[in-house]
């Protein structure tokens, strides 16, 4: 039973009755919610650990986020610092390990509202890029928070294109020091999290100059603030970059360096170093560092991006069975808004997407650990494929999650616009993920470049990596569906996605080739095909996601009830993609007009089927009310009461209305004499 497993005290709702409209939804679940939760967690043990962490977090007032939406940028930042510090004390107190499962559950319980997350990136970059001596010197200091670090790569004028970075580090043999400089405004470091107010040290990426020769971008460890009083070091201009769409708890910063000298030993030198006489030496392969970056990307997708979509679905779906509006039948009570087909069509596809991405992230985790094992044995063969796969998938996933959360927000009507719904917070966080860690269009084009190469290999009969082997398959050229039920067969829709991905890639590649053959320079031809290439890369990623969802459903064969509902979600996910891109599938006649009508009919039918399990499907994510931080999405469904009580706590209702005294009263005062 959902209620009994709640350990009482950390789910605020458990002390109340559940709204009967929500309770009714839970009674008719076609599967065990608890069982699905443990599957999503990757085992009952993980579920237990996660709930234990939730209980610890939510019983501690320091972690309470009830006032978050009322706070100014300054207050948000300070609260996040306070929580981050308190987390460290908890970890210390509980004796948890830095890499243990509890840490990620902390983050989940607090929806990521912690300061200096980049400190970890700072540490990882030293571990990846530093020599053994450098690691031995800096890591213990970072572990004990004697120093707090950030990772300063992007500049005001440069993000995507690393080679274009303008910060310089010039080596002087006479002093054995590097001098770091920001030669112009566009070269200021801009955006690094924690840089503005928090960090004492930064790993800074700069163009290395030795004896007037440029050796390209290298990492340097630079102290930017005093360890005694935290004031900026001489020659350092550092600050916060100002208010953003969200992430107000993070002090994204700017940094200007004026002749900052650091010792030769502060260049992180695992892969290249400058010898005392100024000789530049490259050593080993930095592919491992490359792999670390891919791992970070995968980690962000599963731990930061996906959960916010799942939260948004939870809030919107619960609200949609509590909210009643208009009449479906004259004389009947107003209907739950989830009973409207249009509302189902808004909310159920993002829910299916959430599950699709969950299973995909499980697959990516496995792929990465496979890659890791191989790399530890010196085999880097999987790296190009892993890179191409995660680039495009990062783009697709962040785009789908952000769009899905925003659909959820708008599907809650006016109340979705209130900060107290929690939905603006979720959307604005997800929106950032579309441009950080690689701008999405740039990433899709990286995947496209890999695909074009593989397509060439296929044509010339060479072997290609596993994820693109499908490019060499031959199909009949016509979809083999005869009834609308056929569109509920994974083989049928998987084949349609495969056909589309192959066709779009083939078209883009041959266009590219034709342009080159007609005399266009390669770069020019590439640019003129990029719109098509992006579409081909997306189609490839969507095929991968559909295929993986199908495989994941298959593996649930010992969980009949859960397999059944997951199969519905998989069907919905696939058919939604077809419904939203009909042109791609109709274009060469692969799917006929009649078949498209069948696919649409099956799609619409699935909405009504999944509708019945919508609430259990979001309950299974098992977010605590505190983690959702939403008046609309709480477990007990007492939406209106909570909204009203919470709004009354707004500072605008607590403080004296100065505007009245200053501006309104002079306007109103005539009224007294006249009425």
């Amino acid at each position: 039973m959902a209620q009994t497993r709640m350990h009482g005290y950390f789910r605020s709702s458990s002390s109340r009755d559940v709204n009967p409209d929500l309770e009714a939804e839970r009674k008719t679940a076609s599967f065990s919610v608890e069982r699905l939760t443990t599957i999503l967690d990757g085992g009952a043990e993980n579920t237990k650990t996660r709930r234990a962490v939730d209980a610890i977090i939510h019983s501690d007032p320091v972690f309470n986020r009830e006032n978050q939406y009322f706070q100014t940028q300054n207050e948000r930042y300070e609260a996040a610092v306070k929580r981050a510090v308190h987390v460290q004390e908890k970890i210390h107190q509980m004796g948890w390990s830095e890499n243990g499962p509890e840490i990620q559950y902390f983050n989940r319980a607090l929806a990521g509202e912690l300061a200096f997350p980049i400190h970890l990136v700072f540490k990882n970059s030293i571990l990846a890029l530093g020599t053994d001596e450098q690691i031995a010197k800096w890591i213990p200091l970072a572990d004990q928070y004697r120093i707090i670090g950030t990772y300063a790569q992007t500049e005001l004028g440069h993000g995507t294109f690393l080679r274009g970075l303008e910060t310089t580090a010039t080596f002087h043999v006479s002093t054995q020091e590097f001098t770091l400089n920001t030669p112009k405004i566009s070269a200021m470091k801009w955006w690094p999290g924690g840089l503005g107010r928090t960090a004492s040290h930064a790993v800074i990426f700069a163009q290395l100059y030795v004896k007037e020769k440029c050796y390209g971008i290298h990492p340097f460890l630079v102290q930017i603030r005093s360890l005694r009083d935290h004031s900026p070091a001489p020659g350092v201009i550092v600050g916060d970059i100002g208010p953003k769409m969200s992430f107000e708890h993070i002090d994204n910063g700017y940094l200007m360096l004026q002749n900052i000298n650091i010792p030769r030993e502060n260049m992180l030198s695992r892969y290249s170093q400058v010898l005392p006489d100024g000789t530049y030496v490259k050593q080993g392969s930095d592919k491992m560092n490359y792999f670390t970056m891919i791992m970070t990307r995968v980690d962000i997708l599963s731990r930061e991006v996906l959960p916010n979509l799942l939260r948004a679905c939870t809030i919107a779906i619960r609200y949609s069975v509590v909210r009643r509006q208009s009449e479906l039948k004259p004389g009947d009570p107003e209907a739950k808004i989830l009973d409207y087909q249009t509302q189902q069509q808004k909310l159920l596809p993002p829910l299916a997407t959430g599950y699709a991405i969950h299973f995909l992230s499980v697959y990516l985790d496995e792929f990465c650990s496979k890659g890791h094992t191989a790399i530890k044995q010196g085999n880097f063969d999987l790296l190009p494929e892993l890179h191409a796969l995660t680039s495009g998938l990062k783009a697709i996933i962040t785009e789908d999650c952000a769009a899905g959360a925003e659909v959820c927000r708008r599907a809650c009507g006016g109340h979705g616009y209130s900060a107290l719904s929690g939905l603006p917070f979720l959307y604005t966080k997800l929106a950032a993920s579309c441009t950080y860690e690689g701008e999405n269009t740039v990433l899709l084009l990286q995947t496209a470049r890999f695909l074009v190469k593989c397509f060439g290999a296929v044509l010339s009969g060479q072997p290609v990596p596993a994820s693109v082997v499908y490019l060499s398959a031959v199909d009949s050229g016509k979809c083999q569906a005869w009834t609308k039920m056929d569109f509920l067969k994974p083989d049928i829709y998987a084949e349609a996605y495969r056909h589309r991905a192959t066709r779009l890639l083939r078209n883009a590649a041959s266009k590219l080739q034709a342009l080159v053959q007609s005399g266009a320079e390669e770069y020019e031809a590439w640019n003129r095909c990029t719109v098509q290439l992006v579409q081909a890369a997306k189609a490839h990623c969507q095929y991968i996601i559909v295929k993986n969802f199908i495989d994941a459903v298959e593996q649930l064969r010992n969980e009949a009830e859960i397999q059944k509902i997951m199969k519905h979600l998989c069907d919905l996910f696939a058919l939604h993609g077809i419904f939203s891109n009909t042109g791609d599938f109709l274009h060469d006649g692969y799917i006929s007009g009649d078949q498209m009508d069948m696919a649409t009919a099956s799609y619409l039918h699935l909405l009504a089927v999944i509708r019945n399990d919508a609430v259990p499907l979001v309950d299974a994510f098992d977010f605590s009310d505190e983690s959702l931080n939403s008046a609309l999405g709480s477990y007990d469904g007492h939406v209106y009461q909570r909204l009203y009580e919470w709004a009354q706590k707004s500072p605008t209702n607590q403080q004296v209305n100065r505007a009245y005294e200053k501006y309104l009263k002079p306007l109103f005062q005539n009224a007294l004499s006249k009425l």
Partner: protein, 673 residues
């Protein structure tokens, strides 16, 4: 003087922008006149904007650095000032008031919006002459500040479901206003929380034991003089939102609160002293107001998207990134095809929606004349059409603004870009004044009705007259599929025909599906619900057709050949991009062949290249002043980076060199570990 030109001569302009501007193929001033309606209107608009922009009273700190309470206070200060200045200057023309107000509040909402936009107009249209004597002048003079309280916590779209009651008590000749449940608390009205001392409250009228449905009542909510809530009234601000920081959207709970009988707005319906209820004559009269409000939202869709495009396109011309050609300097990011593909269709959309907004406003004025002469025949169609256009344009602009923001990469996420602010300010228009899906279904209801009419042999008129063609096709339905494809993809007029065909086919498909559901089930409502996804698609196709048609119609009126050429390209881009995004519809219905769709994709890319040299002139022509754009990335002079730095220095977190949280939290941490 051209405001833009005035800025040209000021600080040094970014070299990229200067070069781009010099290379434009047309005189952007002419296009500005076209958008404004005439050269004279452009002149007058600039004159009025200058009144505000040069007035030190309206200067203030960057709102991004203020708290919500401070932003509210600043907005109230400016609103009070605005009212006084308008009267001082004698500005009374609605367009001129709009220009003045837009310059003061720069596209943001303000606490008096509902007073000026709903409270006063409602008094004018629904109050009796006696009521106008009592309330109008005090309201005009802001002694009474009012709002319009319709939505409740539990009810928005479905007005009949509102729960607030107004029960007539003949003994005292008073109405008793009451909020019986939590869900009945009035929720969202702008200016209700802190600003207003009166509200027009919509409530279910009970008299002589019977419910007479929704009626409007003037309810005093705060004490004049002290501004304290009156006994029996609980009122406050609903708290923080996605945007609308300067607006005190409010809640209102009434506990058996009594108002005189004369406070019910009684121009149409009446309650006599003894409690006898007198019915209104026609309920179509309120349609006019709705058409007006929707025309404003459509105009706002165009303007908000145009602002976002201006920022993103200027930034994309100043920003250089990566290499196109190895060894060459980094190119302007607008030279990447993918960036053009994101931004130029949206630029074309801004223009398209502008013309739709103008059309709706003109239509409103025309039918207001008709209504005054008692002719209500056109109202149902207009009401239905404008519902869909409101939804269609606001959905498209909503997505487009975010696309513009994301096309600016990380910097678009900073509030200095101005783009988050445009988005959060605009996005509620998808839900207020009629939730968009509900709006689309209203249009669909009209479309289905018209279709049924045609099927039964009657002709229909207006924008749906294309449905008449279906009656001919009914004789030989197979002709549709066999009809030789006649759409020419380079001819705007022919593309209108293509969109028309698509709309008629989708309306027909939805109507047929509805009939199938009806045959299968008994309930009309159930069948309607099970067809609603199809119905929304049909409405969207209908609206898309109307927008393309209005854009194309605009072309013939453009005299200047250079302006005509560039607008023709934009119009083609709008129409062809729409086809490429809905290629499935055009293919499935046999409107275009596979080969033609391939040509459409290709032609869209050619148009991107054709528009590229004029991109800057096309956004400059919108003629937004820098103060109005509120964006460091979108500055007219293109001096972006140095100004981002200047802006960031003012961040509240930078007030002290060392933030106090260091001493409070970080330093102690080191001691503990």
């Amino acid at each position: 003087m051209d405001t833009a030109a005035a800025m040209d001569t000021a600080a040094a302009m970014n070299a990229d922008l200067r070069r781009e501007r010099d290379a434009a193929s047309f005189d952007r001033g002419l296009l500005t006149h076209l958008l404004d309606g005439s050269a004279e209107r452009t002149r007058r608009r600039r004159e009025i904007e200058a009144l505000v922009l040069n007035d030190p009273d309206f200067k203030h700190e960057d709102l991004n650095f203020l708290s919500r309470s401070q932003r509210y206070e600043e907005a109230i200060r400016k609103s009070a000032l605005l009212v006084m200045k308008l009267r001082k200057y004698g500005i009374a023309d609605p367009d001129e008031i709009f220009w003045f107000k837009s310059s003061v509040h720069r596209g943001r909402p303000e606490p008096l919006d509902l007073h000026l936009g709903m409270f006063l107009p409602t008094l004018l249209t629904q109050a009796t002459p006696e009521q106008q004597d009592r309330f109008f002048m005090p309201a005009w003079n802001l002694e009474i500040v009012g709002t319009y309280a319709q939505t409740e916590m539990g009810h928005g779209t479905h007005l009949r479901g509102l729960e607030t009651t107004a029960t007539y008590d003949p003994a005292t000749q008073e109405f008793i206003l009451h909020s019986p449940t939590v869900t009945s608390i009035k929720w969202w009205p702008g200016g209700l929380g802190k600003t207003s001392n009166h509200a027009i409250v919509l409530a279910q009228l009970y008299t002589q034991g019977q419910c007479k449905g929704l009626h409007a009542f003037i309810v005093p909510i705060r004490q004049l003089g002290t501004h304290e809530p009156l006994p029996g009234i609980t009122v406050g601000d609903i708290g923080p939102k996605f945007g609308y920081d300067e607006m005190d959207n409010g809640y209102l709970k009434m506990d058996n609160f009594r108002i005189p009988r004369e406070n019910m707005l009684m121009k149409y319906a009446k309650v006599e002293p003894d409690g006898t209820y007198v019915k209104p004559l026609s309920d179509k009269l309120t349609y006019g107001t709705m058409v007006f409000i929707r025309s404003i939202i459509v105009g706002d869709s165009a303007r908000s998207l145009a602002r976002a495009c201006t920022i993103a396109i200027r930034y994309s011309l100043v920003r250089h990134q990566s290499e196109l050609k190895p060894g060459e300097p980094e190119p302007q990011i607008l030279d990447y095809q993918t960036q053009q593909y994101k931004l130029f269709p949206l630029l074309a959309t801004s223009y398209a929606f502008h013309f739709v907004g103008v059309y709706m406003k003109n239509t409103y004025h025309r039918i207001t004349g008709d209504i005054n002469q008692g002719d209500l025949s056109e109202l149902p169609e207009l009401h239905a059409l404008t519902a869909g256009l409101k939804a269609f344009t606001s959905w498209t602009a909503n997505a487009g603004i975010e696309e513009c923001r994301m096309s600016c990469g990380g910097h678009g996420y900073s509030r200095c870009s101005g783009l988050p602010d445009i988005y959060v300010t605009f996005t509620p228009s998808c839900t207020y004044e009629g939730e968009n899906t509900v709006m689309m279904l209203q249009t669909a209801r009209f479309l289905v009705k018209s279709y049924t009419q045609v099927r039964s042999g009657q002709l229909v008129s207006g924008t749906v007259s294309y449905l008449n063609d279906l009656s001919e096709q009914l004789i030989q339905p197979q002709q549709v599929a066999a009809r030789p494809t006649a759409v020419h993809i380079n001819d705007p007029a022919s593309l209108v025909e293509g969109y028309k065909l698509r709309a008629s086919r989708l309306v027909e498909a939805a109507a047929k599906n509805l009939q199938t559901e009806l045959n299968r089930r008994k309930s009309q409502e159930d069948a309607w619900n099970r067809t609603s996804v199809d119905l929304v698609r049909a409405s969207e196709a209908h609206c898309h057709y109307v927008v393309v048609k209005l854009f194309v119609a605009q072309l013939s009126g453009i005299q200047d050949p250079a302006v005509h050429a560039v607008m023709n390209n934009l119009c083609l881009l709008y129409a062809l991009y729409g086809i490429s995004k809905h290629a499935g519809d055009f293919l499935q219905m046999g409107i275009l062949t596979d080969a033609q769709v391939t040509q459409v994709y290709q032609h869209v890319k050619e148009l991107l290249a054709a528009v590229r040299p004029d991109a800057i002139a096309l956004v400059d022509a919108f003629d937004f002043h820098d103060d109005h754009l509120g964006s460091v990335l979108g500055r007219y002079d293109g001096n972006i980076y140095e100004n981002m730095f200047e802006w960031a220095k003012k961040s509240p977190l930078n007030k002290t060199e060392v933030h106090e949280s260091f001493h409070k939290h970080l330093k102690p941490l080191q001691a503990k570990l």
